[in-house]
């Protein structure tokens, strides 16, 4: 039984009915630091509990919800502006993650906060898209020559662009993982199975299975987990929504297999179930094809991941959390790039950090 308040609320919204006023004090802090405070508004709403809360708690939740509404407005408008900037070129823009959930008005987008917008473009058209965005007021965020070259050569995205006046950052990907990553995905297949949201402007999103596989690949190949719990909540909510469809699990397993993403799928299902009680049938996890060695290693991975899928709040962060984060950071880099490429990159990064410090 997990005794972290936020996780208890996420696992079972009805549990909040038993929280006393000081529990609420801590719960709101854990949620705020985890970028999940507006989500808490919707959790309370899901069990019709708002009117039972003291006014001051309702005020805080309503305030957070208003901020999330503003984020939604900003994202919808930015998508409109991107469509406008690209209206003269025949290109499909696939919106990823939060922007995709918002475009489809999925429940997972309720109370979701954004830091940037992620899009995916056919690699052949990416330079053209970048050119048109720059013509329409976007500028590159990464100025250094090294960064520019590094992104273009090794990454699955070009250096991010930011709109000069609106200051919203857009990450422009041509793949869901770097070409050097350990897992070799088939991006054409994902693009082919994407769906229209808005026919007129060529606004697209991945299929439900694609969205789920992508969010898992992203979370479990990443090295940073500052929004780890938030990202796991995304996975949980997507599963709860889509698994109602007949044949859902077979399709999901099939897609992960075709994309060589069985391992992220395994982790995604395992930890969302373990931590957030996501309804994943045991036999589905057993069916995922992963090696015996991988299953043995799980003892270690369980220990690491259980320390990062926690609220980003001091009431939950112990020393072992920093160590787990460090190991997962190294792992993330290793998964994205073989060592003979990774080490020179980290050296150059370290060197520029030193140089910057010296010159200040």
């Amino acid at each position: 039984m997990n005794n972290i308040l936020l996780i208890r609320a996420l696992r079972n919204p009805a549990a909040i009915a038993d929280f006393d006023i000081l529990d609420w004090d801590l719960l709101l802090r854990q949620a705020r630091q985890s970028n999940l405070l507006p989500k808490l508004y919707y959790i309370v709403k899901s069990i019709n509990h708002h009117s039972k809360l003291p006014d001051k708690i309702q005020d805080i939740l309503v305030s957070a919800k208003k901020m999330a509404d503003k984020h939604r407005q900003t994202v919808i408008w930015e998508i409109d502006r991107i469509s406008e900037a690209l209206k003269d070129i025949p290109v499909s823009v696939i919106y990823l993650k939060g922007a995709a959930y918002t475009l489809q008005n999925l429940p997972v987008s309720d109370g979701r906060l954004f830091s940037d917008i992620d899009i995916l473009i056919d690699k052949k058209l990416i330079n053209k898209v970048e050119h048109y965005l720059i013509l329409n007021g976007w500028v590159s965020v990464k100025q250094s020559n090294y960064d520019q070259k590094y992104y273009r050569k090794w990454m699955h995205e070009i250096p991010p662009l930011k709109h000069r006046r609106r200051l919203i950052v857009v990450d422009i990907h041509h793949n869901i993982l770097p070409p050097t990553a350990k897992f070799k995905t088939n991006i054409d297949l994902l693009i082919d199975s994407s769906m229209h949201v808005n026919e007129l402007n060529n606004v697209r999103v991945f299929s439900p299975y694609g969205m789920l596989i992508h969010s898992m690949a992203h979370l479990f190949c990443e090295g940073e987990f500052n929004n780890g719990l938030r990202d796991l909540v995304d996975i949980d909510e997507l599963i709860r929504l889509f698994s109602k469809e007949k044949g859902f699990w077979d399709e999901l397993l099939d897609l992960a297999n075709k994309q060589n993403l069985n391992i992220p799928l395994f982790y995604g299902l395992r930890y969302s179930r373990k931590i957030l009680s996501t309804p994943v049938p045991e036999d589905v996890i057993r069916k995922i094809s992963v090696s015996q060695l991988f299953r043995v290693n799980l003892v270690i991975m369980d220990r690491l991941f259980s320390r990062v899928f926690i609220p980003n709040h001091k009431s939950c962060i112990k020393h072992s959390v920093y160590l787990a984060k460090f190991f997962l950071y190294i792992r993330g880099h290793y998964l994205r790039m073989p060592l003979h490429l990774l080490i020179p990159h980290l050296m150059i990064k370290l060197f520029t950090v030193w140089n910057d410090k010296e010159s200040h």
Partner: protein
Amino acid sequence: MSEYWEAVAGFEVLRKTWGSESAIYHTGSGDTQLLDELGIAILNLVQAQRLETEEIREHILRKHKVELEGDSLARLLAELNRSGVITRVQTP
């Protein structure tokens, strides 16, 4: 090729009028602007139909008996364009 102005579809524009002044709020961009009577008249024109800059100038002259200087009309249109209320379309 000619250049037209038209209202941006899909987003509501709220108005609040006090005498000759109106504040408008664009629910897409979140921008707020203050327009005088002529500004509102121009907005009404463009919201009703797609128009060229010169057509707008003629309408205003005919209906409101006001001759808009080149600059002031262009400035207002640019401002409405920036906040996403209207947009520029080109047709061959």
